[in-house]
Point group: C2
Amino acid sequence: MVVLFTFKIKEEHERQLREEFPDIAFRFAGKLDVDVLTEAEIIVTYGEDLSENEIEQAKNLKWVMVASAGLEKMPLRKLEERKILVTNVRGIHKTPMAESVLAHILSLKRSLPKIYEFQREGEWSKKLGSSELKGSTAIILGPGAIGSEIGRLLQAFGVFTIGCNRSGRLSEHMNEMISFEKLITRLPDADIIISVLPSTPETKGLLTAVHFDDMKDDAIFMNFGRGDLVDEQVLIDALDQQKIGHAVLDVFEKEPLTSDHPFYRMANVTVSPHVSSHSSEYIPRSLQVFTYNLRKWLNGEEDVQNKIDLKRGY
Amino acid sequence: MVVLFTFKIKEEHERQLREEFPDIAFRFAGKLDVDVLTEAEIIVTYGEDLSENEIEQAKNLKWVMVASAGLEKMPLRKLEERKILVTNVRGIHKTPMAESVLAHILSLKRSLPKIYEFQREGEWSKKLGSSELKGSTAIILGPGAIGSEIGRLLQAFGVFTIGCNRSGRLSEHMNEMISFEKLITRLPDADIIISVLPSTPETKGLLTAVHFDDMKDDAIFMNFGRGDLVDEQVLIDALDQQKIGHAVLDVFEKEPLTSDHPFYRMANVTVSPHVSSHSSEYIPRSLQVFTYNLRKWLNGEEDVQNKIDLKRGY
């Protein structure tokens, strides 16, 4: 059985896979190698290199393992037609993303940007104006796996968490739940507003100038979901007019930002270049999901992890 | 009854005190006013402005409330002689200090210094080498109120916590406890070593070159206790030779650091100018302890909070 990896992994990980599965012919091509494609039974990919054309060529293909959460660029219909199993690694982003969110919040509350600045200037100064996270109120837009993990950590710091989703149905690690419609009523109470929402017709442009008007003037707004949640000019205006205290942005309308983008130079903005899910643990954790499923696959078991319903697309 | 405040507080806090205790003559002098001193029954101070001389002048003095944890500069013997009640605010540092410790750890794990640097340079780069806190092992030197709070938060992030004190007796929120003598045996397993130890004959110079030899080469060492825990040159050598990954220092042998101190320019050092306990919540929280005790005092109740045993000095 041939397994094609279309992205590079470390030699030590290659060795581990070969040792655990000696009967499998692993092809660590690091790209979509056409010669291997035709014989591969399993393809392990980031999910951005497969088109309908490639699926047709892959005559032996039975399983596509996507080492990512997004499936936007996958030829799902073609895969469904061929009844090919598709799995992904959803859930593995929650730890690095939640840690990034907490890192940015604590950094601002405990004045780390100023501490670093004073160090660069060789200045011993205690004029920092530090505050605390404890006793804050946070609204989490999109309390799924990632949002709940953020809520869990915030609660450990003594933060009151308000989850906000379409239905307002209860989610884990939230002290309170509200629907999108009720969001505006709770914004005046929030010290921190965090979005981890995906891009859907309902979330696109969900936040408008009115929302920023209703936030506290020292509120921290964090977008770690998708850049189309709020029109960029609306956000720039809110920050220029100091309607809120600070924005931490991991996602943008257009990525990468051009080097002359105003966000880079705004003192009340942190630009995080879409890296909040990055982690040295990413590949090891993806391979754990893969090997777990591979063992099941070899045993003919069908209850693999993170199986995608190709009709629904998730 | 006259109460003298020797440090400044906000007008709103003055008003709150006057409203809650209308029969008390508050003197918000903001310094050790000699005229008020002679009539004051209670003095509220940071504990650095009282000498034996002042205690003698304060004929009516019955209670000194110290809005700090350290009592090193207080004339304890004289106070004991006069049988004056002394209370402090120990415990109120734990939230800001634990939040500072977590802020620095997460900032390093999630590459915030690099993210800020790329932003200053207007550069969109994902080359950060971020890792995760989850799954790490931390040694906490001095697992008292502050150390245990750090342990509690670290455990929420999935960190294995090892407390280290003189006796090795169990402390809260520690997965394991070791004595100072056993420290060296567990250093090779630690990703993070945090000290919140006070300065005592036993802790002075507790860490030596041998200890840094035994740490992981990517370990984070954090000193948030006292600067005499380790000889500064030993620490500089360990960092120059990259025996460890990074040091976050909130305390130093001599404070303030002079602007030409090497720590300021070392890429693997964060200089925090002894501010980890600073917080906008400090005065409000101190006043909470004070008013709680003041109510008891006025009712003639003796079980006040944070009463100091003047013989032991804590």
